[in-house]
């Protein structure tokens, strides 16, 4: 579960980067294609933002379990 969330963030970012690059390297933009990319991009941005929301870290002190019986 957590590893899934992790890969999905990395993957979302990768896809987003591809979309960004597409827009960067397009002189004449095909509006229809662009619309598709925008739709995909919006979903990815939303997902990534949720995951990257600045949330305070949780600190927990682990009890010293020095004893092993």
């Amino acid at each position: 579960m957590k590893s899934m969330a992790r890969t999905s963030l990395s993957e979302s970012l990768k896809k987003l980067e591809e979309i960004t690059e597409w827009f960067e390297h397009q002189d004449e933009i095909d509006v229809e294609k662009a619309l598709e990319k925008v739709k995909e991009g919006v979903v990815l941005i939303k997902e990534s933002k949720t995951r990257l929301k600045e949330v305070e870290n949780e600190f927990e002190i682990v009890k010293k379990e020095l004893e092993q019986e």
């Binding site: 979309i19 933009i29 919006v42 020095l66």
Partner: protein, 512 residues
């Protein structure tokens, strides 16, 4: 259960374990201490009745345990006089332990109890070493004075110490003195051995580095990538000191779950505690994405724990990817070399974790701006193109329709021309037809006339016309008879006249 006593017992046990350089349960497991705190044993037999305490343990710690219980009971007595009369009576019953004479063993037990409280840190030079399977015996002497002491260290503690003893080394040892009852000799039971002096430390460092290098402990192909977006981080460092503060301050708010195992990062307990922490996290390895060990900078000597072989191997063998942020002056610590990734400060460690998050936020923001900007630009561009096309169409269209009209007129004219030429061809053709018809009729008439004339002529010359006039054709055997020689008497003749044939016979022939 006497909780106060239990906590006293545990404190004593932990202290004792450290001094002996063994794990706590080797002194007494929790269960035994619990039973002691519950049953409050007062005599040797009471103690031996407890599961987990046998003769050997009794000889070693029995007196101390009994003393602790007794001390505690007398405390509660003075606190609660008259409330627990039974306890008072019992305590009184044990009191007359002060006897004039005692056995050798009793005396030695007493001495050892006293000695166990005399933990010390001693510096000296190794004068002899004898490594056995479970114990290493050595003697320590002063380089200047004459003093000398016999020492021993258990194999486990010796190995954790990471020091290879050889004669002439200057070392610092920690432990307690103890008398070995069978021969009455005293030796110093060391729990910790450290090399003393920068030179010796450096020598040991270089030797260990070379050894681990040859084993491939630091090999780059063993290094794992740290995850870009960890969620659960295991953290090992000191509770005090700047490291933990620097780390948390620079980590930013990433919604991480950090499990912090506080340890000493310097001094005699550092290796034990860090190894214990590492082992703890290894037991729950699947719960963590990353393991971080940090410590601020320090002198070579103060960082010795991080050059300890046991610790290094524990880090190298970690099931969780490791990140070390340990400051150093000249020589990087070997623990850092064994980690999957090393940086030189706790702050840098925090930034290593934080950086992918910051970068991701940045690229998401950039992507958002860029996509919106490019798309709206492309939209307005198409809008512009469309309206321009509209204008173009509006201006060009009349021209096109004008041309159409011209073309249409031209086409009409052409059509008319074609039509009239078709008409003239038609007329010419009709005329020809008539002329041909007429010509044909003329030819036909003259032919008819010619045929009529031929017919008449033919009729004039027809031999059969003569037959009707009385002439006859005479044939014999189908041959026309022209001369008398053509027949003989008696020959049969066929005589053709105008309307038929007469059969005759030659009766006579007469020449004329």
């Amino acid at each position: 259960m006497d909780q106060e006593l239990l906590s006293l017992l545990r404190q004593w046990r932990d202290r004792q374990a450290r001094t002996e350089g063994v794990e706590v349960f080797r002194v007494f497991p929790n269960a035994v201490l619990d039973t002691v705190a519950r049953t409050l044993p007062r005599t040797r037999d009471d103690l031996l009745a407890i599961k987990g305490i046998k003769e050997a343990k009794y000889a070693k710690y029995g007196a101390t345990l009994l003393a602790l219980v007794r001390e505690r009971i007398s405390e509660t007595e003075s606190e609660n006089v008259g409330i627990f009369p039974e306890t008072c009576v019992d305590a009184m019953a044990v009191e007359p332990i002060v006897d004039e004479t005692m056995t050798v063993s009793q005396f030695l037990d007493g001495l050892n109890t006293e000695l166990s409280g005399m933990a010390a840190r001693i510096r000296g030079e190794i004068s002899s070493v004898d490594e056995r399977e479970r114990v290493v015996y050595f003697s320590l002497k002063d380089s200047l004075d004459e003093g000398m002491i016999q020492c021993l260290i258990f194999r486990y503690a010796y190995e954790v110490s990471g020091v290879k003893l050889s004669v002439g080394d200057e070392v610092i040892i920690e432990g307690v003195p103890e008398i070995y009852k069978p021969n009455g000799r005293m030796s110093f039971k060391a729990g910790i051995i450290e090399l003393a002096g920068e030179g010796a430390l450096k020598k040991a460092y270089d030797a260990l580095k070379a050894k681990l290098e040859s084993e491939g402990v630091f090999a780059p192909e063993h290094k794992r990538e740290l995850p870009d977006f960890p969620k659960r981080v295991a953290l090992i460092t000191s509770h005090d000191g700047a490291a933990i503060g620097d780390f948390t301050m620079n980590l930013g708010s990433q919604g991480l779950s950090v499990h912090f195992f506080p340890v000493s990062v310097e001094g005699k307990r550092a290796v034990f505690e860090m190894v214990a922490a590492l082992r703890f996290f290894q037991r729950h390895a699947e719960e963590y994405d990353m393991l971080v060990i940090i410590r601020g900078g320090g002198s070579f000597e103060s960082l010795q724990a991080f050059n300890n072989e046991t610790l290094i191997r524990e880090i190298a063998g970690s099931a969780i990817p490791t990140l070390l942020g340990v400051g150093h002056e000249k020589d990087v610590t070997l623990a850092a070399l064994a980690a999957d990734m090393m940086v030189s400060t706790p702050t840098a460690a925090a930034r290593t974790i934080r950086e992918p998050f910051d970068r991701a936020r940045q690229s998401v923001g950039y992507a958002q701006t860029l996509i919106v900007e490019r798309f709206s630009r492309s939209l307005s561009r198409s809008d512009f193109l469309i309206s321009r096309m509209k204008d173009v169409v509006a201006s060009v269209f009349p021209k096109i329709t004008g041309r159409f009209a011209t073309a249409e007129r031209g086409l009409g004219y052409l059509l008319e021309q074609v039509r009239s030429s078709v008409r003239s061809i038609e007329e010419r053709y009709k005329d020809r037809e008539k002329r041909m018809q007429r010509g044909f009729m003329l030819v036909f008439e003259s032919c008819k006339r010619d045929v009529g004339r031929f017919e008449e002529k033919l009729r004039e010359y027809d031999p059969y016309r003569a037959l009707n006039l009385g002439y006859g054709l005479v044939r014999s055997q189908k041959k026309l008879i022209r001369k008398i020689a053509d027949v003989q008497i008696g020959a049969h003749l066929d005589i053709q006249v105008g309307d038929g044939i007469i059969g005759a016979e030659v009766k006579g022939i007469k020449r004329l």
